[in-house]
């Protein structure tokens, strides 16, 4: 009896802490998402009042949609490059900044600034740099880097999109790892120093393992950002040349709002999400299993 009361109050406590946030997430994401899912089974064009049900027609069309599969492929390519570069770069910078450099605060702020500039400005800046900027630099220095066609060459343009994305968000990841580094107790390093550990031993045997929770976060955030990548593509390449840099989100958006096929676009987003969620759950399980509790 007493135990039962214990359990009830404990469950009550759990609900009181978790339920408000649960409700908020439902209102912001899950309810709109489910309301939206209905359109995946219709031929709605996004404008007219009534949507007509058309069963699984959208999904069977999807199976033969090479544009969609190419977008998935590009998104995968993007994800691999973006996740690797932004996390490795951010860990390195955060660790160096953690050595109490005088300019550390200013540098972190500087790296963060591109993160808050959105769509219009990023596009404006980079179209200018890659166009007129590189042209005059090329004439000045005769370097091949500046003469390459970074927005037109099919083999280069994915790297352009990845680089600009890393440029825009690196400061965010530096901040995540900076905060993670602050949670590593100094005593461990002192003990390691007594044992005669060198800098690389300290980095690989202490810093990296102790950063595991932050690495889980960084990996997941960058995965999520890769799935959602849209702004940089709209402002830089509009998916081109051809469809070379069309990401899934860009493809879905174009389908729903430019081709006026909202129902079909929604079917795509539904399929995408189911697949990605499965991937993410596996990735998180794996990463979490490598973390240690203090």
């Amino acid at each position: 009896m007493a135990r039962k009361i214990m359990r009830v109050t404990r469950t009550g406590g759990f609900l009181a802490f978790v339920f408000p946030a649960f409700l908020l997430v439902c209102l912001a994401f899950y309810i709109p998402f489910l309301m939206n899912a209905y359109y995946a089974f219709t031929d709605w064009n996004g404008i007219q009042r009534a949507a007509k049900l058309n069963g699984l027609a959208n999904f069977s069309e999807l199976l033969q949609d090479t544009d969609f599969f190419n977008s998935v492929l590009f998104t995968l390519k993007f994800a691999v490059g973006y996740i690797a570069l932004s996390n490795a770069g951010a860990i390195l910078i955060a660790v160096i900044l953690n050595r109490k450099l005088r300019a550390a605060n200013a540098i972190r702020a500087a790296l963060f600034i591109p993160y808050i500039l959105s769509l219009v400005i990023v596009g404006f800046i980079w179209n200018f740099i890659l166009g007129a900027g590189f042209q005059s630099l090329g004439e000045l220095t005769h370097l091949a880097v500046f003469r390459a066609d970074w927005l037109g060459d099919l083999s280069l343009v994915p790297w352009t999109v990845i680089s600009v994305s890393v440029w825009q968000s690196l400061g965010f990841y530096v901040l995540i790892y900076h905060a993670g580094l602050q949670a590593i107790p100094q005593e461990i390093y002192e003990a390691a120093l007594l044992d005669g550990a060198g800098p690389s031993t300290k980095f690989f045997k202490i810093t990296l393992p102790m950063l595991a929770p932050s690495i889980t976060s960084g990996m997941f955030f960058s995965l999520a950002a890769s799935i959602r990548v849209y702004d940089v593509i709209v402002s830089l390449t509009r998916g081109g040349p051809g469809r070379a840099t069309s990401s899934v989100t860009f493809d879905i958006y174009t389908e729903a709002f430019s081709h006026n096929r909202y129902g079909y676009g929604t079917a795509k987003s539904l399929v995408l999400l189911v697949v990605v969620m499965a991937f993410a759950a596996v990735q998180l399980r794996f990463m979490k299993s490598r973390e240690v509790e203090a």
Binding site: F17, F22, F29, F33, I116, G133, A183, A280
Partner: protein, 274 residues
């Protein structure tokens, strides 16, 4: 030797940061150039700096009113996100049942949903709930959109707070909630500050959600929306557009510089001894 290496690293990172900011710096000093100079050479420094663009923007835009809208939206949003996420993240991290992992996934998987794919029904729901076309309503909406990332960060961090502190917090005959606010929440300060920084930067400078929710009425517009309409209108006058952008972004950057000093070391490390 160590000092020298640190200096070398510092020089390298300062150079990197400058390289990162170069495009922004170029844009910035163009804000101080008259129109003709911008057009003739975008890269050149201003021959003599002028405040005309800023004065013009200040006259054109109702900056104080827009600023107030931003402030209200950001304050409501960030406070709500911190309160609800810290509670949920803490409790989820401390509870080990079959369901807590599933629940955790439920909280964070929305980060994988591109906003563009659900914005039509988000707007529909906001209209039903009476949250659209209102500054306060937009602030409330950020609660839900900000929870996943914040819960994720808190959830990971709580593991570094020893469980002994929970027990100490509850032994003194206070309610669970009091124990949380008095002992646990202060210990999460580094993460709270990190989340505040990320969310202030995001909400203050957000474009798409305000565009969908509050753009139809001049009195509910945000600073960012006003700036982007500038970029559309004055496509030929970069000077004005850049000046407007600087006015809009500057407060959030100041906030970043002030707050990041609070992401400090050792708050938790020193909490338990022996």
């Amino acid at each position: 030797m160590k000092r020298f290496r640190n200096l070398l690293l510092e020089v390298f990172l300062v150079a990197l940061a400058l390289g990162f900011l170069l495009p922004v710096i170029v844009m910035l000093y163009n804000g101080f150039k008259p129109y003709s100079e911008i057009m003739s050479n975008l890269l050149a420094f201003p021959r003599k700096a002028t405040m005309d663009n800023f004065v013009g923007v200040w006259r054109d835009m109702n900056v104080p009113a827009l600023f107030l809208n931003n402030l209200v939206i950001t304050a409501i949003g960030v406070v709500g996100i911190i309160v609800f996420s810290s509670m949920a993240g803490y409790k989820l991290s401390r509870t080990r049942t079959r369901y807590s992992w599933a629940l955790f996934l439920f909280f964070i998987l929305p980060m994988l949903i591109p906003f563009q794919t659900i914005m039509i029904t988000v707007l529909k729901l906001a209209k039903t709930l009476g949250l659209s076309n209102s500054v306060l309503g937009l602030g409330f909406q950020y609660w839900g959109f900000g929870v996943p990332l914040a819960v994720f960060i808190y959830h990971g961090f709580v593991k570094t707070i020893p469980r002994e502190l929970d027990e100490a917090a509850y032994i003194d005959g206070v309610t669970e909630f009091q124990g949380f606010t008095r002992v646990i929440f202060p210990l999460m300060a580094p993460m709270t500050v990190t989340i505040m920084v990320i969310d202030v930067m995001w909400i203050w400078n957000d474009y798409l959600l305000p565009l969908v929710m509050v753009n139809s009425n001049k009195s509910t517009r945000t600073l960012t929306l006003a700036v982007y309409s500038y970029f559309g209108q004055y496509v030929s006058n970069y000077g004005y557009a850049i000046a407007a952008l600087v006015i809009a972004v500057a407060p959030s950057i100041l906030f970043f510089l002030v707050l990041q000093r609070w992401i400090v070391k050792g708050v938790v490390a020193g909490a338990v001894k022996g």
